[in-house]
């Protein structure tokens, strides 16, 4: 009932760790969204749908292997690739003809895809709830100062920094990353010096969507795989991208950290009104830095 009734140092540490594991998922999904937004200038509302498809594919692949440990690893590799393949087809078939259109058109276009993908999921997987169990070695929990911490969340804490490092390498150290960053700033100029911008765009779009699929695959063992999970994530992902700075991947990381940590600590501090904490944080950021925390590429 009371405000801040149960705060101990152990409980606080626990909430920070749980919040960080949630941050991992949020960061992976939001960074993909931010990448597409920054380079291609597409506000991809269907990003959440790809996340959902990623989760469903993970379920199917893992179940094919009897939800074994091998099945889990294979699903983690295959499911995001399926999502990447779908996005490649969509990009080459449709999006590549629409880059010159205004943002509103693109927004409506991607919105139509949320409906198409939503129905597609219903057709393929039906409306029953699906649940995937984590592999045996990630089941259960470890105890940190008498409070349980799920092993799967520990796994997420390892994956998060790995993905962040991978993204850093991709954008800073590879040629395609450098071209993509250049194209984000001035796409005419990149085209003028003889680089096939379309191909770069396709690659970036596929990588962004791959991240949505990866987020879906990672989240699958922790929650209910069902229709509607697309709406829940896309709102949070957009908020994170906005407070971080449109198109800035490190902004997405910062935004995800703020969102994930205010959420989990808010739950401990004032459980009755925990829902509002991350949104209050978003409002505060936008009040003081309306363009986001880090430099926007827009």
């Amino acid at each position: 009932m009371e405000f801040a009734a149960n705060i101990t140092l152990a409980a606080l540490l626990q909430q920070v760790l749980v919040g960080l594991s949630r941050t991992t998922i949020l960061f992976i999904v939001a960074s993909g969204l931010s990448l597409v937004l920054g380079v291609l200038r597409i506000p991809n509302v269907a990003h959440g749908s790809l996340y959902m498809i990623g989760a469903f594919c993970t379920y199917t692949v893992a179940t094919l292997f009897g939800q074994s440990t091998l099945g889990f690893w294979l699903a983690l590799i295959i499911a995001p690739l399926i999502v990447a393949l779908i996005s490649f087809i969509v990009e080459r078939g449709l999006f590549c003809h629409l880059y010159e259109r205004e943002h509103l058109m693109l927004l409506l276009f991607t919105f139509s895809f949320t409906l198409v993908f939503g129905d597609l999921v219903k057709l393929v997987w039906g409306s029953d709830y699906r649940s995937l169990t984590p592999p045996a070695f990630l089941m259960g929990f470890i105890t940190i100062s008498d409070l349980p911490f799920p092993k799967y969340n520990l796994f997420l804490l390892v994956v998060g920094p790995l993905v962040a490092a991978g993204l850093w390498f991709l954008t800073q150290k590879t040629k395609i990353g450098k071209i993509a960053r250049a194209a984000a700033v001035d796409r005419e100029m990149v085209g003028a010096i003889g680089i096939n911008v379309n191909l770069v765009f396709a690659a970036v779009f596929v990588i962004g969507c791959y991240l949505a699929g990866l987020g879906g695959a990672l989240v699958a063992p922790t929650q209910n795989i069902t229709q509607g999970m697309d709406h829940a994530i896309i709102i949070e992902a957009f908020l994170i991208v906005i407070i971080g700075g449109l198109g800035n991947i490190w902004g997405a990381l910062l935004g995800a950290l703020i969102f994930g940590l205010t959420d989990s600590i808010g739950i401990l501090v004032w459980p009755q009104f925990a829902i509002v904490f991350p949104y209050v944080a978003v409002v505060l950021v936008l009040l003081f830095r309306p363009k986001g925390l880090l430099k926007s590429t827009w």
Partner: protein, 403 residues
């Protein structure tokens, strides 16, 4: 005179010719508005499928008073505006004799209000709002499902028998969550004075990760937790409970925890020892009537019936039974006959209370456990709480309607 007689005969024959085929052709129409897309479909499909199964039987036996029964379904997509316009279309264009639905409480209340004005009987099949037959009840609305008041009372009775004193309440921050939490807590305080509420946590519907909520509750160390969550949030909550070992540390009650739609997707990795209540299990009660019902349902749909199937079955039996008794197709006479009527069902005799039009369904409280022969957890140690014991008193209903 002779001409007049001929005229009468001709007129009579014409009337016979016009009305006879028309009457034979005019079907008895029942409209169902419910959400068949998105997560709620996991519950609503069983209502519709079991209902259609019974309607097929009724039609094979000659229909309702000689009229063939036609079922029209509409998808509300869980939206009040879409559902309401579908209900309007069914009433005004299709001229349905009876309307059924819906899992969305706001929509159920809106359709109920429309049916009151249009004098069309409305059978509420899944909404858990106690207002339907409580504060907002009227002559044309019937509920054939339990609601938050009934489940709250049942949960409180079960919990009162256990030795817990310090409670925590956690749930979905919308009407269902608050209503069921209030239902359990208010009744529990009445039955067992001295229980103490340590705190509450409320999350948004569709919360993706319950781990931070569970760890926060654990650090408060209550004796037991009342988890007021429903629908699609049950599965992820139980998942997080298993992942954190929550069920091994603190016992918790979750109304729909033992239902098939919740436990089946989790397989053998659902948490054990969770206390739940439900109107029906395909494995309980172990009666011939239930076994027969399960066999029939499985033969057609190739899956086990969940709780919704009983609601669909009951709707069909009440509608058919009351019209048989009424003997004519007349809405007012039909309603008079449904009032106080009982039907045999897989869960035994179920009476429709005349005063508030609430079906008096028994509630089964059980604890999740692994069992031989099932690849998912089932409810064990089941205690049956009879319908009479969980119903609000008529005085309570009167008081609610006065407000």
């Amino acid at each position: 005179m002779k001409t007049f007689a001929w005229f009468c005969i001709a007129l009579a024959m014409t009337l016979v010719l016009i009305t006879a085929p028309a009457q034979a052709a005019k079907a008895f129409k029942i409209g169902i508005v419910d959400c068949y897309s998105g997560p709620p479909a996991a519950y609503t499909n069983d209502v519709r499928d079991a209902f259609k199964l019974e309607v097929d039987k009724i039609n094979a036996a000659g229909g309702i008073l000689g009229r063939k029964v036609e079922v029209l379904t509409r998808d509300s997509k869980f939206k009040v505006d879409i559902g309401l316009s579908a209900a309007k279309e069914l009433i005004y264009r299709e001229n349905v004799d009876i309307l059924m639905g819906t899992i969305n409480s706001a929509l159920a209340l809106a359709i109920s209000d429309m049916c009151r004005k249009e004098k069309v009987p409305f059978f509420v099949t899944f909404s858990k709002s106690a207002k339907i037959t409580g504060a907002k009840g009227h002559r044309y609305v019937f509920s054939i499902t339990e609601n938050t008041a009934l489940a709250g009372k049942a949960g409180a009775q079960g919990l009162a028998k256990r030795p817990y004193k310090k409670y925590w309440i956690a749930g979905d921050d919308y009407e269902y969550g608050h209503a069921i939490a209030d239902g359990v807590w208010n009744n529990l305080q009445k039955i067992k004075p001295g229980v103490e509420l340590l705190g509450q946590s409320w999350w948004k519907v569709g919360e993706p990760d319950f781990t931070p909520y569970i760890t926060a509750i654990l650090s408060a160390k209550p004796d037991a937790v009342i988890v007021a969550t429903g629908g699609r949030d049950c599965v992820p909550f139980l998942k997080a409970a298993k992942a954190t070992g929550f069920n091994e540390r603190i016992p918790f009650f979750m109304h729909t925890a033992t239902e098939l739609s919740t436990l089946k997707p989790l397989g053998l990795n659902a948490p054990e020892g969770v206390i739940g209540t439900s109107n029906y299990f395909f494995y309980y009660p172990e009666t011939a009537a239930n076994k027969h019902f399960v066999k029939n349902f499985e033969a057609v749909y190739n899956r086990k019936p969940a709780v919704g199937a009983v609601y669909g079955f009951l709707a069909a039996r009440y509608i058919f039974g009351a019209y048989q008794k009424a003997g004519v197709i007349d809405t007012e006479k039909f309603i008079d006959n449904v009032e106080g009527m009982w039907v045999d069902s897989p869960v035994g005799k179920v009476t429709m209370r005349a005063y508030d039009h609430q079906a008096m369904l028994p509630m089964f409280m059980g604890v999740t456990q692994k069992a031989a022969g099932y690849d998912f957890l089932i409810a064990k140690d089941i205690v049956t709480i009879p319908g009479e014991d969980v119903m609000p008193t008529i005085e309570e209903i009167k008081k609610a309607r006065m407000k």
